[in-house]
């Protein structure tokens, strides 16, 4: 058979051919017998396509089931990324504003050096308590009281949960 096909076209068809699309006859019996270069390349393509693991090495249905299950379990994180990010931003912005306001009011209200909140905000009522009463009070306070932390520097180390508790505590 006389072959008018160019190598570029033959190669394009060789790479397109797969298990569903057999190599066209014009390439198989027309071009390849007359072109050793393309025939060698076709042998390599067939060879590497014949490389495959054991039949059941990848159970497609099982992979699909497991991927879908994992995605379904992970879905809440991906389904509301914007909302989650926005709530985090709102919390941080509010906390920063509160910290700034507290700092500013402290500067305006006193010319004395600014002390950590834990040392300046002692309620007068506490002064009258006995030591054992103070101990009882400390025992019922939460293990981590955000209000006892210096504002500003400690904020960056706080979790969302701690920030929310801080905001709730400040609101009253």
């Amino acid at each position: 058979m006389k072959c008018d096909m160019k190598c570029d076209e033959a190669r394009r068809l060789m790479h397109q051919a797969d298990s569903n699309t057999a190599l066209p006859e014009e390439v198989r019996v027309g071009h390849l017998p007359e072109c050793p270069e393309c025939a060698e390349e076709w042998a390599l393509i067939r060879g590497v396509r014949g490389v495959r693991p054991q039949e059941m090495a990848v159970d497609v249905q099982a992979v699909a089931r497991r991927v879908l299950l994992r995605l379904a379990n992970a879905r809440p994180d991906t389904a509301r990324p914007t909302r989650r990010r926005m709530s985090r931003i709102v919390i941080w912005a509010t906390a920063a504003a509160v910290a700034f306001g507290v700092g500013l009011s402290s500067l305006r209200s006193t010319s004395a050096p600014i002390l950590p909140i834990s040392t300046v905000s002692v309620l007068p009522e506490l002064a009258d308590l006995r030591q054992d009463e103070l101990n009882q009070l400390l025992a019922i306070l939460p293990a981590v009281d955000p209000l006892s932390q210096p504002l500003g520097a400690g904020l960056s180390d706080m979790t969302d949960d701690e920030l929310q508790r801080l905001l709730r505590a400040m609101e009253g």
């Binding site: 390599l44 060879g47 396509r49 495959r52 090495a57 992979v63 699909a64 991927v67 992970a74």
Partner: protein
């Protein structure tokens, strides 16, 4: 429209992004076996193939936010799989036995032709292990997976021109080794 095999990858990705889980399932069914074979040829041990394939799909779907529309889903998936497989390649070097089957319909129905293809496959697999990484990846993606150079460039984070050059270098080396 669930289960329509004529849907493009892009349409399935869009459907998945809109909450259609079946679309993810269809993409897995479309590419899992091919990806497994690619990972195997690339050097991953057979015992790890299913886990690697599953992980690649999971990560691909989870990170779709970072998927650039100009790359195909397949090239995105293979890129993730290649990153995941780095450790697996090393383990796979200890592999002593390979399985070869004939996927392309025999050109002439001759059993000798089938045997030749299998023998060629064994030699190719040995020789692939000696090629530089990019030559090896480009050759497998092109010759086995049927990707075009644009997709290969996306999967390997290189250019189409570089992919073309790597393919021809790999082809020349393999021809010399297998001849």
């Amino acid at each position: 429209m669930a289960g329509d095999a004529s849907l493009t990858d892009e349409a399935l990705v869009a459907a998945y992004r809109n909450g259609a889980q079946w679309a993810a399932g269809m993409l897995v069914e479309r590419y899992a076996a091919k990806l497994g074979r690619f990972l195997y040829t690339r050097g991953a041990p057979e015992a790890d193939l299913e886990d690697l394939t599953q992980e690649a799909f999971f990560k691909a779907f989870r990170s779709l936010e970072g998927w650039r529309g100009e790359a195909t889903f397949r090239s995105w998936l293979y890129r993730i799989a290649l990153n995941l497989g780095r450790d697996a390649w090393r383990k796979g070097r200890k592999r002593t036995q390979v399985t070869l089957e004939h996927e392309i319909p025999s050109t002439d129905g001759n059993p000798e032709s089938l045997f030749e293809a299998q023998e060629t496959g064994r030699r190719i697999l040995r020789e692939l292990g000696t090629l530089p990484r990019l030559q090896r990846d480009v050759f497998i993606l092109r010759a086995q997976q049927g990707m075009n150079y644009a997709e290969i460039a996306q999967a390997l984070n290189t250019t189409e021109g570089a992919a073309r050059v790597h393919y021809h270098h790999a082809l020349r080396r393999l021809k010399e080794a297998v001849a």
